[in-house]
Amino acid sequence: MSVQTARPGDPSGLLRPGFAEPTLDAQRCFRILLDAMAHPGRIAELPVAIEPPPGLMAASAALCLTLLDAETPFWLDPAAAGAEAAAWLRFHCGCPLAADSRQAAFALVAGTAPDLTRFAEGDDLAPEASATLIWQVERLEESGPLVLTGPGIERKRALGLAPLAEGFLEAWAANGALFPCGLDLVLVCGGRLAALPRTTRIARRETDGED
């Protein structure tokens, strides 16, 4: 798929394009994401070629195009992306950009351990009113020191992600303790993704013994 792009300083002054086929590309990306959410920790590649704006990884951009619109306030981590990404999101998704992270239905975060307490976790009457975070990481593998269990996982599943700060596993356990409330995470690395719904428990493997 050829992608026509306007880079910063491009005399055409155009924004980078979104999906080549909005309807079918969104459908394909959603099915991959739904499958990932139903099988936590399973890594999948999004089947679309997209050149994201600076700060967004390709899969993050595709997920935004798939899920966001005027009904979904989006919070963009200033450490991850800047004005060009914001303009791209406003144009292609038409989503409001939330100044207050607690108002966001979706958020893009980067770094070693996103602060999970700054987003809406829903309440017991409407636990679905919680935020979904897209967390951009530098390394994402189906092997590694993390062991996942929970709905969608037949026995257990290994996951490796980096960078990962020590505090994250504790913060994630605290998020799980809120169930049925709590945040859902989508890990993104380049064009690939894996999901961690609030039901997934994460432990650190003690030894490299049998699995």
Binding site: P22, T23, L24, A26, Q27, R28, F30, R31, L33, L34, D35, M37, A38, H39, T66, L67, L68, D69, E71, T72, A105, D123, D124, L125, P127, E128, S130, T132, P151, G152, I153, E154, F179, P180, D184, P197, R198, T199
Partner: protein, 294 residues
Amino acid sequence: MTAMDRAAGPRRPGYNYAFLDEATKREIRRKLLKAVAIPGHQVPFSSREMPMPPGWGTGGIQVTASLIGPSDVLKVIDQGSDDTTNAVSIRRFFAETAGVETTSSTRRASIIQTRHRVPETPLSEGQILVFQVPLPEPLRFLEPRESETRKLHALAEYGSAYVSLYEQVARHGRIAQSYDYPVMVGARYLMRPSPIPSFDNPKLDRSPALLLFGAGRERRLYAVPPYTSVESLSFEDRPFRIELPPRRCDLCGATDSFLDEIVADDAGTRIFACSDSEYCGERQRAQGLSVVAP
């Protein structure tokens, strides 16, 4: 090859892909993701007018429309059968609006939309079963107010559901519920599995397939992810039991499938035959019989 099997073809012009507009699909998609993340919890959604009356599967159709794509193979069943009116209409709807391949084969289908049955052929990982749900609220006949049932779910206060089963034991000497038998999902949410026979309940437990439920009139979506515990309510001294007539299918001889009682001729002769028409047909074919539709 049967009338149910149709290759992917052109779509009817003038409609968006799979009928629904993109904003509606996006909303349903976002809600489905939350439903999967909170197994058994009913998520409200906007539920659009569909070109058929509520009660004919509009919830399931909206879920399927938000899922389906050109590489999907769709199977639709109504009470287990591929060739009853509801199944034929819905299959044709998606063949025309999405141009997808349709099939009667449970094994080949990537999406199976169903009214009131789970196929006999075991489902596999990667398949999605979409249930049409008339009444999503398992506590509705015990507590008519939506505001109250939501609180009961928030508090996981399900005592009344057990009392209702106990009343059946007191009245009939056993739990008499034979369909729409309530289940606990992930040991947290009480869920109505839609009016499937209780015979099908064990198939939901730790199913490798993703189970999605859509209630169009009641505007609710819910889900059970793969490998999630789905436990039929019971008491320690009254375990959950499936009751089957001590019979075999008169057409294929199956002893392990759910049977319908069917009037076979003008003289009132009655036969018992598999409710799952594809399963029955495959079994007849395997035995070299000329296939009779149940």
